[in-house]
Amino acid sequence: MATAPAAAQAPAAADTIPPVHQRIAGPSPMAPALLPAGASAGAPLGTHSDTLPCLECNPPKRFWLGAADVMLAQFVPWAGNYFISKQAWAEIGPQTWRNNLTYPWQWDDNTLDINHFRHPVHGSMYFNAARTNGYSFWGSAAWPLAGSLMWELFWEAWAPSPNDLVNTSVGGVILGETLFRLSRLTLDNTATGGERVWREIGSALLNPISGFNRLVRGETGRVSANPPAWRPSAILGVLDLGYRQTTQSITNGVTESGSDQWNATFLLSYGDPTKDLSQTPFSYFAIRADLAGPSSGQVVNQFSARGSLAAWPLGESRRHQVAVSLEYDYFDNPAFQYAGQSVQVGLISSIGAPRKTWWGQTTFLFNGVILGSTKSDYYRTVEGRNYDYGPGLGTLLSGRLFYKTRLQGTVSYAGLWLHTIDGTQSAHYQDALLLEARYWASHTIGIGFGYTVYNRHSDYSSLPDVDQSSSFLRAFVSTAIPGLPH
C-alpha cells in the first residue's frame, strides 16, 4: 500500500487487525472452530483421510494447458465484445496487428475501474494459468506480462497501452497469488457430496482458471489429501458494520461537502504476520474491502491487498525483520481516488507476543509506486478518465498495540509523491493519517471507531494548484472470524 490513501483508510488489513496465531486445522479453512482439536495444517481429517495419498502435493508443470488457459482467458472476453456487443476495437486482423506493432504505444483514457481493477483481474487469470498448472509463484510471475503483451498487440485494435501492460502484469501477480491462495483455502479434496460441490463452485468463482483446470483434469470429484500449502499457518477475518461520515473540502473555493453512509469493511489476514514473512511469497497477505452506501458512485470504495515477498530477520529473536512486500490498491470513494501497485521494503518489528499483556507490531516501509493513478482536478475525458498516471515514492509508518486481546489501537501514517507522466502536467503530494481503536467484548464481538484524515496538494505546472482535505469518521460493530486468539 503505501499510498497515502492506502495507509489511511485501510493499511491493508495488516495495520488494522490483530496478528493471528491460531493454526488452521485441516481442510475447513474458513471455519476452523468447527474442526476437531489437534488436526494439523494440511492434514486430512479422520482415519479415512489419514491414509489418502496427496495427489496434488507435487503437481507437474503443464505448460501447454497453461498456454491454452491464457488463450481461453483472451478468447472469451474478445468473443463477447466481437460477437455480442460488436465493439470496433474487437475487429482484429493482420492490419490491426501490423498497426499495433508499427505505431507508438499510447496511454489510454479508460475509467479507473477498467484500468486498475478489470485489467489486474484479467492479469490474475494469466498468472493462474501457470500457477494452477504446477508453476511456483516466481515461475508464474512472467505470465501476466506475456499475456498482457499478447492482448495489447493482437487481441484488440486499440493502440497498445503502457498503463494496461503495467496494471495487468503487476496487478495480475498480486491479485493472482491472493486469489490462488484463497481458492486453495476454499477447496477440500477430502470432502464429498454436496459440501465438495459447493467448495469447488466457491473456489471456481474466486479463481475461474483454477476451476476450469480442475474440471479438465478430473480433480473436482477426486478424493485425496490436501497439500499442506493449501492451508495457512493462521487466519483471521474481521467484518466491521457501521456508520461513516465523510467530509471534504477543496481549496480555490470549489467545494465543501459531507455525507453520511452505512459502511461495511472486511479485513482478512492470511498467515502469520511475523513468522510467515520469510516464507514463500504471499505466505502472509492481508486484504481489505470497503463498501459504503447510499452512493452516487461505486458501492465498492476500496480493495487493497498486500503480500509478503521475502524477509530477513535481524538477530536471533526475529523481533525485527527487513521485509519486502507487494501491494495492490484501489480506492474510489467520496474522500479520495487513487489506485496503483507498489513494491515496499522496510522494517517490521514485533512487540511482545499474543497472550501477553501487551503485544503489537510496528511497520516502517519505503514505498515505490510502479504506476499509480490519482485524481486530477483538470484532466477530463468523455470516456470517463479523470486521473493522472505516474510513478511515485512514499513512506508508510504504522503501529498497532493490543492489551490482553481486549483493547486494540492503531496509528498509521502514509505519505506519497506521485509524478505525473500522463495527464495534467503535475505532481501530487498526498498523505493520510489513520487513528483507530477497538474494544473486543469477546473473542468474536467488538466495537470500535476510526478517524482518517487525507490531504492532497496537487502542484500543476500551468494551472492553479489545488489542495484537498477529506476525512472519514467511522463507528462500527465488529465480528472476528473465527475469533481472536485466546
Binding site: W89, L101, Y103, D109, T381
Partner: protein
Amino acid sequence: MVTRWGIRGLAALAVTLAGPSCDTPAESLGPNNHVQVTNLVGHFELTADNIQNVTRTLTFAWQNPGVYAAIQHLSFTPHGTTLLIITDAVGNEVYSSKLLYNLDDRTLNGTPGGWTVTFSLDKSVGQIDVILDAAWPPD
C-alpha cells in the same frame, strides 16, 4: 542463470517494445480515404476511412442556427491523436475532444451563425464519422 531461451525471449520482448518507438513518416489524406463531407445549414457530417498514419488539419465553416450542436461520435481512431474542435460564431471554443466511438455528446452553448469545425489529425489511424446537428435547449 539465464538460459538461451530466456535470452531469446528477452530479445524478442525488447524488439517488440522498441519497434513501435521508431518514427513512421506521416501520410496525407487521399482518394483511398473516401473523404465525404455533408455540409448543410444545421447539419454537418464528415466521413473518411482507411486512414493510416495521417497528419493533417481539416477546417470547415458550418452554419449552425442552433444554440449548441448535438454530436454523434461514430469514429474509431485507435492510433495517433484525432481531435474535433468547434468554435461558435464569435470564435469561442465550445467543444474540444478526441474522436470517439459510438458516443453522443454536445457542445457548450454558443452564438448561432457561422461556426468553425476543425479536425486535427496527428499520426491518426482508423476511420472518422462525425455528425453535428443544430440544437436548442428545451423551453
